[in-house]
Symmetry: C2
Subunit: 654 residues, 2 copies
């Protein structure tokens, strides 16, 4: 076996693996960013920043980086995965540009494409795609953030004129936080309660012109959200409507329509299913945000790791100054973040693949959609929180330099802050995941009686019964937990890591099912109270499930690595990810008898004593494999530091 | 016993207790903030923001809010605690204003006061205190952030002219990140290696004029740090010197001097002690930052808690919409933060008192100083991290509204980000704390042999042997841990909470001492390697110690609460703080046999099932007791939300 010092990561192979299936599209978008110098204007007023972003988006349109998801006639490839890949890279230019792209293409144009029919594709889509019609996606309302089904905006059909009347009944029903609403938007896809013949048929989408050459149309109101904590290159604002009339044809009628006389028809009978089908395209936003924040993490870690390798502080015992990266604490801060980022990279690739299969039509089944939604919700919630944590740790690891705007980290964090809230608040998304886990759990046992199911904790599940998106299969029965053998050999084993992580999810879900079981007669209020009391546990179970998905994706990706040295290094990195997961949840493992106290302590010792020192010589090549140049990162703090250290005598300027 | 619904917090009494000893000064500063409308100009360029902040500081000077710490002849009271109290309140106006105050008074003027002698107090202090001479505190260098002893700036004595020559030898020795350096500063207290007769006597402080009427003086260079992640109202910049000559008298010579002929003299023989004595005044910054961030947390929680009490989302099972605050997860996010903030409030009061005793001269002993430094380092590190966490949780709890700049949370977080780095990087500070704990540990056993000391883990320590700042006394021997009794009755008991928290610190320190024990012959490199490998554990032990200090302060404060209802509510809140500490560190308690698995689970159940519901009716009055008005907070999101809900029909504006 080679010594650690003698092995090295094959940066080209691993780098290509990280770029993934749509590498060419990603490379093209990166080259546009670099060649056209698309970047965030530091220190600009938000008015100026908004204009820069609109100009930059126009440049992307011209360079063909925005159309991949749309029909060939509009310059596209009907390539959903490719479209998201291009979007995801834009975080390297400016997160505001990325979200402006997302509003125009992922939301506004996609709604026309996926909820509209031929008429809309001909009448509205070309100008949406070529950016002649900047558009807003008017779903969220001030008073109804996550609860879209309860929105207040009305679309009442008037058979006399064959028009819908779009109306905002109260202040809480203002459409809010919409990109393109404050300034640039000329139209909006408005979500409203469709009323015809006095009956409410639920939320539907309508194409509504709002401005002409920058001037609001009659009956349309707009307010500017003004300065925000970040993303100030986007003109977020509010929209509200005073009996604005639009032609009946402006209903995006793929799933439902109204006859001239006002009769409502739909290809989907259940109002609930109809609602969720129309919201289905939203999953795109969640999938692509995961890719976006993972790229942001690459950028942050590239900056912090390289700086840590250059920066010297305090002389060591031999009198030589050590670099920051030689300190145990510094390794503890950064290496697990590198490991987690790799896990996120590979699980995002799987998610993007799932998305592409469904949205390209290759495998658009209800089961695939449902799985996709669960995995996307779990991934979006965890990854956006991880991103804020990772960028902040990177900022602190760069000390005072990290606080300077030119070094990108503070601005990146400020911009990404809202990613944890929009496209579905993380806590709401994790509850969706938890509900799915409970459903799968009940289904797996073909019994609605959760009580008897609790015995399952020590049991075994056939993986065939379990969906890809929901509860994961467990490889084998739980054996031998809680042995007091001191070695970590057992946990180092891949299969056992998997078992420990899977078992935790299963047991948490089973315990929850048991706790949520309501023994008396049906009582909705009591059930809700019980659910509420365990709301935090539900979210923790969903998190555990999302962590498992990431670990599995990392492990699957290892199988595709050909270079032996690289496989060795990435296996250590995967172990670091697995071990830190075990360590973070150690209380659970010990309390539930899954790990003995001796093993618990051995895990921490193994991280500090073995994994971190082993990875130390490879951390630079692990960030090299992100294939980011200083132009994409927008700063080169490490090179600056090197230059300062070798700097000659100071020239005084005054 | 009264029902929970029937008891209520005495907001007046608890509010006064929270304002603390210098309540009058705090009230005065708050009234100046409100009356003079001192606030952060949202959306202003950094150039404009800097001028606003300078003007606001002048207003504070005029209103007598800045002079408390200085001699009566200069309008002050020589009241160190009062001075810090005024500083701490300024976070409500604008953190940039606060730090500008800190630079001018806590650093620049304080250095003249504490390191200078009569000559300096007469020649330089009056104009520093009345702000005629804005000044920089030039300690940190680009290449030597935390390692002040290694700074490169030179002050070489020239007996021919009786001058010191201040010189910057290289790019890494630029003074950096200094407030007042880029624009407003007319002088600086410069820390430099004092060289005389070819010998380096270590770091000393010098008064150096740098500008006259805004123009840099000959030989002085300055660069602007430019846009930062926050605190953009401060003109941070770099300073560097090309053989700048200052009179010998400009050496701040309280602890050391040079004769005309160039002979070095000092009242402190040991160079190490001399260095740390001169840096002693820096503790002021750490103490006051704790108070500042605690105030910022009050502000963030005031906003988030009131919003959560108004905001409705999703109908409940009875069809009525519940407020956010009725959700279990929302309570789980916010209530422990309220509890921790109370713990920080009370521990900061103790810290401020300790500081006042030392700096007012009442009790300026070496032991008191050393204790103060340890507690301040621990408090600064934990509190600044807690602040970022608290503000972020508050931001997320306010959803999209939390991201709007007008609602203050994002700006507050951005400004406070750097508080974890400046005045001593948190990780460096926690290592100082850990070293002290290890020293106390060795001292308590009067033996340098850590090996035998490990037996102490199960033993007992007399509290008399333990300093106030270092290792805390344990009330009694460890008994009865690991019992499987299901009830949490045992842990609910105050004394047992104390015992569990204390025992953890003692055991961690003892284990570390054992691990750091080097068995072979003395080998500095090997010792350092061992230390480095356990660097992360050292920091965790210091954190545990800081948590214990906060719990103790909260518990001590309970004894001063007269109103019985309030005592009950605050005891629940203290229990929530203690229980969440136990829960966060549950792995340790179970692995080390201090808590049984059954008790571990019971603790989580007790938090969710008992403490959170009990505190739910009182959370509003708990933030009422912060005594903050919407003018101090700068927004009233909850009132806006209420108004929107009761809003009549929309008026369309366009």
């Amino acid at each position: 076996m080679k010594l650690n010092e003698d092995i090295q990561l094959d940066v080209a192979e691993v780098g290509e693996r990280i770029l993934g299936r749509w590498a060419d599209i990603r490379r093209h978008t990166r080259s546009v960013i670099i060649d056209k110098k698309l970047s965030k204007p530091l220190g600009a007023s938000f008015e100026k920043h908004r204009e820069v972003v609109l100009d930059n988006l126009k440049t992307l349109v011209k360079e063909g980086a925005t159309q991949y998801g749309f029909p060939e006639a509009l310059g596209g490839q009907l390539n959903p995965g490719g479209s998201l890949s291009s979007f995801e890279e834009l975080v390297f230019a400016d997160p505001s540009l990325q979200i402006k792209f997302g509003v125009q293409y992922g939301l506004f144009s996609s709604a026309i494409l996926y909820l509209g029919t031929d008429y809309h594709h001909e009448a509205f889509l070309p100008k949406a795609v070529n950016l002649d019609t900047p558009g807003a996606f008017a779903m969220t309302e001030t008073g109804h953030g996550s609860d879209v089904a309860s929105i207040g905006t009305l679309a009442t059909y008037d058979p006399a004129t064959k028009e819908f009347v779009i109306h905002t009944p109260d202040r809480h029903s203002y459409k809010d936080y919409l990109g393109n609403a404050a300034k640039h938007g000329e139209a909006a896809v408005v979500f409203a309660q469709l009323i015809t013949g006095g009956e409410n048929h639920g939320v539907h989408a309508f194409f509504v012109p709002i401005r002409k050459r920058g001037k609001l149309l009659p009956g349309v109101g707009s307010e500017d959200d003004g300065l925000k904590g970040g993303l100030n290159g986007i003109d977020n604002g509010r929209l509200f409507f005073d009996n604005v009339r639009i032609p009946k044809a402006n209903l995006l009628n793929r799933y439902a329509d109204v006859t001239d006389e006002g009769e409502y028809t739909s290809s989907i009978d259940s109002p609930g299913r109809r609602f969720f089908t129309q919201l289905g395209a939203l999953v795109q936003g969640r999938v692509s945000l995961v890719g976006a924040v993972v790229n942001a993490q690459k950028k942050a870690l590239d900056i912090a790791v390289r700086y840590g390798l250059e920066r010297k502080q305090f002389p060591g015992p031999d009198g030589k100054e050590k670099t920051l990266m030689d300190y145990g604490r510094h390794q503890r801060r950064l290496f697990p973040l590198v490991a987690r980022t790799y896990a996120q990279i590979f699980s995002h690739q799987e998610l993007l693949e799932q998305f592409h299969v469904v949205f390209s039509g290759e495998g658009d089944t209800e089961e695939n959609r449902s799985d996709l939604e669960t995995v996307a919700a779990a991934g979006k919630a965890l990854s956006t929180w991880y991103a804020l944590d990772t960028i902040q740790q990177a900022r602190e690891a760069c000390g005072g330099q990290g606080f300077m705007a030119e070094h990108q980290l503070t601005g990146l964090r400020a911009d990404l802050d809202i990613y944890v809230t929009f496209e579905g608040d993380n806590n709401v998304l994790l509850q969706l995941v938890a509900k799915r886990l409970l459903q799968d759990y009940a289904k797996a046992f073909k019994s609605p009686d959760f009580g008897t199911l609790a015995t399952y904790v020590a049991g075994q599940v056939g993986s065939a019964a379990i969906h890809r998106g929901g509860l994961r299969g467990m490889a084998q029965t739980i054996v031998d937990f809680g042995s007091t053998a001191r070695s970590v050999g057992y946990v180092k084993d891949e299969e056992h890591q998997h078992q420990l992580l899977t078992d935790r999810v299963h047991t948490m879900v089973a315990n929850l099912a048991n706790k949520l079981k309501h023994s008396g007669p049906k009582d909705k209020a009591k059930e809700a109270e019980l659910f509420n009391r365990h709301q935090n546990d539900l979210i923790l179970a969903a998190q555990a499930h999302a962590e498992l998905i990431m670990w599995e994706a990392f492990t699957t990706a290892l199988k595709s690595i050909k270079d032996k040295d690289s496989l060795q290094i990435l296996t250590w990195l995967r172990d670091l990810y697995g071990f830190t997961l075990l360590e973070e949840n150690m209380a659970w493992y010990v309390v539930n008898g899954r790990l003995s106290s001796a093993r618990a302590e051995a895990i921490t010792d193994y991280i500090d004593g073995r994994l971190l020192p082993r990875l130390r010589p490879h951390v630079e090549s692990l960030v090299d494999a992100f294939l980011l140049s200083p132009e994409l990162i927008g700063t080169n703090l490490a090179a600056d530091e090197r230059a300062r250290q070798s700097g000659k005598k100071t020239l005084v300027r005054n």
